[in-house]
Symmetry: C2
Subunit: 291 residues, 2 copies
């Protein structure tokens, strides 16, 4: 399944994620050199056909494309700072988990060193890499993304967001925020029904299709938010979105209310500001302009 | 599309939801009598073939099955208390929005009056009634549910939860909790990317499939919760679920952090109690036993 024999790729960092990324490239037939700070992590990959480099410098010199998947932003600088000369003229794709500000800083560092830079945010766990459902977000150099897309597609669905290197990380974090908050909502619901003898498994079979259906509301909320007019007709009003019954019923079940109270506060601040008859989507203003 | 010509059904309450429910029955060919406290609401339904009753008592006496969809629990008692003699021997299906405790109270009232009682929780807005996606949850008399299921199915997917009349309302509220909290998570994500020039619409096209995919995690969380052992392998640990980066990036975007901080607190309380190496699903314990 070799897609481009001419690409000589090096992978720095063979933790669970780096190892999964390198493995997918080896299996796809790419000439792959691997390096890890502590030895031993490369053995399985070498058995599959990868070359192990003794130093990060050796790994960088052996290929035109360098993939970095390290612990954090600090680790990336520790490994790459001494190699700026070797990296000049090469291409760097950094999929280490970093903040938007850190991604932009690395992009500026790379520009200074004459290195083409693409930043990636991985929306998957290691064992999803190369399998359906894995999604990787990219931003930074469009040229790099376009040139190496066949290689990137070995890992999962590749989506490019723009030249601002911080965008992929920002999207990544924004989607993770949605996920963690949704998980808390699921847990609240499961905790509510539990005292009535309903198992979390029974609740999950109702909650998964229900919340999936309700993601259908995002588009309508977004149209209102992007339109900037929260008074357009056909919306559920903030006043109608009264969560008192939910809070009372939660307390009656003997469980905590802080998960739902969080939403109630977002609603109430908009009502207090005189917007009670406007649409529910207006709660985003409580987040954009915290009280 | 008549499914059972022998059913004589009365609908009390013709607000947006009651009117939608009555309309679906009229269109399905049921002999339907309608009543509303304030006149004029029945005109459209009468034009479609419904009979209008002058009083709630007339409506009850005209059929064996009485559907009640009023403003709230108090309204239900105001309308039904004077009619307990007429209701005896008849069947009452109450789809008014009530708390689990109120549903149980009405079930007890009905039992005392010799009325077969089924409670319903409508997971739909009025214009979804009778169309794909409408879901109505029921609990109370299994006999009533089984007998009238063809009629109930005219409104949407009918699901029965058990003899405890409060169960449907409890499920309804638990699912709504999940929905409102998920909406807040979506809004947080949209607020995060907004300063980078990403529209809410662009974010929605990423967030809807992403959160849909992530509902796939509920089943795994539920298995851990129901198993009662948060140390089973293969889970993301609470310590690994560090939201500091998310909070820092949110603050860097100039937006509030209270949505994500809520989740962080649920995680932190479990870590503080010594469970940091256990699975993320353990956050449900922070809800079940609030600090």
């Amino acid at each position: 399944m070799t897609t481009d024999n001419n690409v000589q790729v090096s992978v720095l960092g063979l933790g669970a994620m780096g190892g999964a990324l390198a493995g997918a490239l080896v299996r796809a037939g790419y000439t792959t050199t691997v390096w890890n700070r502590t030895p031993g992590k490369a053995d399985d990959l070498v058995a599959q056909g990868a070359k192990a480099a003794a130093t990060a410098g050796d790994a960088v010199r052996s290929g035109g494309l360098v993939i970095v998947c390290l612990l954090d932003h600090t680790s990336v600088h520790e490994v790459l700072d001494p190699l700026s000369t070797e990296l000049a003229g090469r291409t760097l794709i950094n999929v280490t988990t970093t903040s938007p500000a850190q991604s932009r800083e690395l992009a500026a560092w790379a520009a200074q060193a004459g290195v083409a830079y693409l930043d990636g945010g991985i929306m998957a766990v290691p064992n999803m890499i190369g399998r359906p459902g894995a999604s990787i977000l990219y931003s930074g150099s469009a040229d790099v993304f376009d040139r190496y897309k066949p290689l990137l597609d070995q890992w999962g669905t590749s989506t490019y967001f723009g030249e601002d290197a911080g965008l992929a990380s920002l999207y990544d974090l924004a989607l993770l925020a949605g996920m963690y908050v949704m998980f808390a909502g699921f847990m609240h619901g499961a905790a509510m029904v539990s005292p009535a003898g309903v198992t979390a498994g029974e609740f999950a079979t109702m909650a998964a299709p229900w919340l999936t259906a309700m993601t259908g509301a995002f588009e309508g909320f977004a149209a209102v938010i992007d339109g900037g007019d929260y008074t357009v007709e056909g919306q559920q009003s903030l006043e109608f979105s009264n969560l008192d019954g939910l809070l009372t019923a939660s307390s009656a079940q003997g469980i905590g209310t802080e998960v739902v109270s969080m939403v109630q506060r977002l609603i109430q601040r908009q009502i207090d500001a005189g917007h009670g008859k406007e649409g529910f989507a207006r709660i985003i203003e409580s987040i954009k302009q915290p009280g």
